[in-house]
């Protein structure tokens, strides 16, 4: 009887110790919303703060941008006051433990709000010290950029 009870306890202990991971939490949409707000405010420091210290941007037509300080420089250079707006739509999010994944589309807008180019992105997020931050951010456009007016033949 003792032996049966012990093995029943063993089975219970092993299943409790190896219980499945808790139900995944929701994607941290408030951080994603803050990214858009800060982008539209041209707040490079605020944007950089939404990335992990070891984050990387993988922008098209440019080298990888590594680390929060370089990311701040990137946004200060590429998104100065007066530059085009942005519209982001989420297609898919997934959260698994301390990682999250987000895929979506992006439209860059001209000064009058018109779409000047469209693209897509993937963000890989990490939770560190209880805070969700962007770990990898890759995007590209759906079509080549039209030639600048200066490049067109006379």
């Amino acid at each position: 009887m003792i032996r049966v009870a012990t093995w029943l306890a063993a089975a219970g202990l092993s299943s409790a110790a190896c219980a499945p991971a808790p139900v995944p939490e929701a994607f941290p949409q408030e951080v994603a919303d803050a990214w858009v707000e800060r982008y539209e405010l041209h707040d490079a420091a605020g944007l950089a703060a939404l990335y992990t210290e070891d984050a990387q941007l993988l922008p098209p037509d440019a080298e990888i941008v590594s680390g929060r300080a370089a990311i701040q420089e990137f946004f200060a250079r590429e998104n100065p006051p007066g530059s085009a707006g942005i519209e982001i739509a989420t297609i898919e999010t997934r959260v698994f433990g301390d990682y999250a994944y987000r895929q979506g589309t992006v439209r860059f807008q001209g000064p009058d709000g018109e779409a000047v180019s469209a693209g897509k992105f993937i963000g890989l997020w990490k939770k560190a010290d209880g805070e969700w931050r962007i770990y990898r951010d890759i995007w590209n456009t759906n079509a080549p950029s039209p030639p600048a007016a200066d490049d067109e033949p006379a």
Binding site: S14, Q103, R136
Partner: protein, 162 residues
């Protein structure tokens, strides 16, 4: 009686520990699958490439709309002249993220009629389907703008895709 009890509890703890250890052993990245992708591309096997993607996979290519599903992916890769263009991958980092593998790195695309390779970076998500690890998302971009007259060309059936 006490000795039996003690032995049972030792066995219990060992059993529980062993059971958990099995689930927590880190599984290595499926490097053979990634190597197979490069080998298939460099041998011009677009059909073989398509087999390395999940049915619900997406390519997110540079300067092209997203490409959905294995049939469209096979058509897409055909436009890249696999086997003539050669791909080399370097600086790879892979991390397990829940049920996925996240993988990133740099690539060099060597075109037969160009002196310098086109260099860029990529990011991938892999997922397990049955016993196979397959590409679920794959995205990349070059480090410099691609000359407008250069491939990739528009994939068949994708003209005007949104």
């Amino acid at each position: 009686m006490n000795r039996i009890h003690l032995v049972s509890w030792i066995a219990l703890i060992a059993f529980a520990g062993a059971a958990c250890e099995r689930t927590e052993t880190p599984e290595p990245f499926p490097q053979a699958a990634a190597d197979g992708w490069v080998a298939a591309f460099n041998s011009g096997d677009a059909a073989g490439l398509a087999l390395m993607y999940s049915e619900d996979s997406q390519l997110l290519p540079y300067d092209r709309p997203a490409v959905n599903g294995t049939a469209a992916i096979q058509e897409f890769w055909n436009t890249y002249n696999p086997g003539q263009v050669r791909i080399e991958v370097s600086g790879v980092n892979a991390e397990r993220a829940g049920p996925y593998w996240f993988r990133e790195g740099s690539y060099s695309a060597i075109y037969p009629d160009e002196g310098e390779p086109r260099v860029g970076k990529f990011m991938e998500l892999w997922k397990q389907v049955g016993s196979a690890w397959l590409l679920y998302r794959q995205m990349w971009s070059p480090n410099e703008p691609t000359p407008p007259e250069s491939p990739p060309m528009i994939a068949p059936g994708q003209e005007g895709a949104a």
